[in-house]
Symmetry: C2
Subunit: 313 residues, 2 copies
């Protein structure tokens, strides 16, 4: 496989535009396509706005030099035909991803690689009947990919074995943090970890043990601080004098009891979701969701800038 | 109850010393006692070292002015007799906490309040036979309390109802972030949330889906970034255009499937713990655990300093 130099981005929404920034800021040439003419018309302006925000936080230098590497094209084939790598970020529904993947598979070079931004649907669910299906896998980012560097790489059973090490290396060169999920599993690793914590949060709320605001504070002012620079295994490895086995001996039984208490998981019922929604809408009216998301992105940018200056050891 | 001005700290290990810093840096007078003469002899030097580290990150001003507010005393009674508030941070075992709580209950003023640093044992398990038991509750910090501000307040069934609002307010005035757990539950909120994520992490590792290092990266470079300034409910509230109910409609079924797949939780087996331990010890030899913990604390201090400069909206 060639070096990842030319990229086709299929799907120009928030995720696809974020990916375009990831590739272009690393010097790669990007051709972006979206089936919606409206999204195509607005994509580059949105990308320039994101880049200007990043520049204000010292995360990128010359905005125009980056934006110039991205061209919006009028057909999917034009976006992917010459690409070394294609990032597919269309709507997350099996039939939509399958149809787009068929088009991509028919138009790519034999040695191109196609990563899907799918956040939970495995590639085998939408690439079984796709031309060159052995070139496809999942490359799931966190939103927005230009600020949160993690990418989960999840091969389908038929993905060419040479692709995983190639893409891991390529993602590292782009400045992302790739992890490998060895086999397909619903939700992959990231959303399974998030889901486990969310399920416990909903269950504690449902039992009346704490308000949604206090559960949020418990993470934002407690658990989340260490987790923003160390994972859960390293955290417990440093949380007992003898390391992770010492910790497991002391606290494993408590955590097993927590798991035992959740043997009969309940779905997030409409009533439950309604109560949390009311609490959230009192804290943040629906009209302010967009402004709060912009605040979140500014906090993320400031955090990313902060992390850059920190030593890894 | 009086304003929280004079504090008795019982237990002078890492947690107790961290609490002494929390109180003293907010201008309170602290009397610290530990049953070990060795710990008593070294406590103030350790506190001065922590304060000097914090000063280097701009987190405190005059180290000596803070240290001068802390005196190490030679008896438990001397530490607690005049205290408005007592923070108990002795070894986490029911019999140890029960014996120390009896001594504290016999020596405090009638209107004093006693918070235990217990990280999972509810106060009713060790205060049932304690004098003035209605003055006791759990005030569980995250380690180290002078860097991570969260405190879980968990009343026993017999805790005086006036204490919770008083202590919540007092903790806020100290600069901590208190949350209320309405009823006793094993692990409280923080360690139940941590345990849910850890249980999923161990299960994914056991199934061979990812390495411990890649699971750690998934949190440290993915999930943990937003969680260092927003809780899980706010995170999903901002992750769908229509807010938390929109998110729950779209992703609730996936997360319920994750929970359904864990209906038969396995304990963290010796074999499993051994394998993660080997992976961790290859990444970080046991001899380096202490240096890595010092790095963690420096990263925490830098993160806390960074958070101080960030807008809340």
């Amino acid at each position: 496989m060639r070096r990842l130099e030319t990229v086709g981005v299929v799907g120009g929404g928030l995720v696809g535009s974020g990916w375009a920034i990831v590739f272009a800021r690393a010097g790669r040439t990007v051709r972006l396509f979206d089936a919606s003419a409206e999204i195509r018309a607005g994509a580059l302006a949105g990308i320039r706005r994101s880049l200007a925000d990043m520049q204000a936080f010292g995360l990128v230098g010359d905005v125009e030099a980056i934006a110039r590497r991205i061209s919006v094209v009028d057909s999917l084939a034009e976006a992917v035909a010459e690409a070394d790598y294609v990032q597919e970020s269309v709507f997350e529904r099996v039939d939509v991803k399958a149809a787009v993947s068929r088009e991509i598979g028919a138009a790519i070079r034999d040695d191109a690689v196609v990563g899907s931004s799918s956040s939970g649907i495995p590639a085998s669910a939408f690439t079984a009947d796709v031309p060159r299906r052995e070139r496809f896998l999942v490359a799931h980012p966190v939103n927005p990919p230009h600020l949160v560097p993690l990418v989960e790489l999840v091969p389908a059973p038929w993905t060419d074995g040479a692709i995983l090490p190639w893409l891991r290396q390529a993602m590292e060169e782009l400045g992302q943090v790739p992890v490998v999920v060895n086999r397909e599993i619903e939700g992959f690793v990231l959303n399974r970890l998030q889901g486990a914590l969310l399920n416990e949060a909903w269950a504690l709320y449902e039992a009346g043990l704490a308000s949604a605001a206090d559960i949020d504070r418990t993470v934002a002012h407690g658990l989340g601080l260490r987790w923003s620079f160390m994972g859960p295994f390293e955290t417990i490895d440093l949380n007992a004098p003898g390391g992770v086995d010492d910790y497991a001996r002391r606290l494993g039984p408590l955590y097993h009891a927590v798991a035992q208490a959740r043997r009969d998981p309940r779905p997030w019922s409409d009533d439950l979701v309604g109560r949390v929604t009311r609490e959230r809408r009192e804290a943040l009216p629906a009209a302010d969701l967009k402004a709060r998301s912009a605040w979140r992105d500014r906090r993320l940018m400031a955090l990313v800038a902060h992390r850059r200056g920190q030593p890894d050891r």
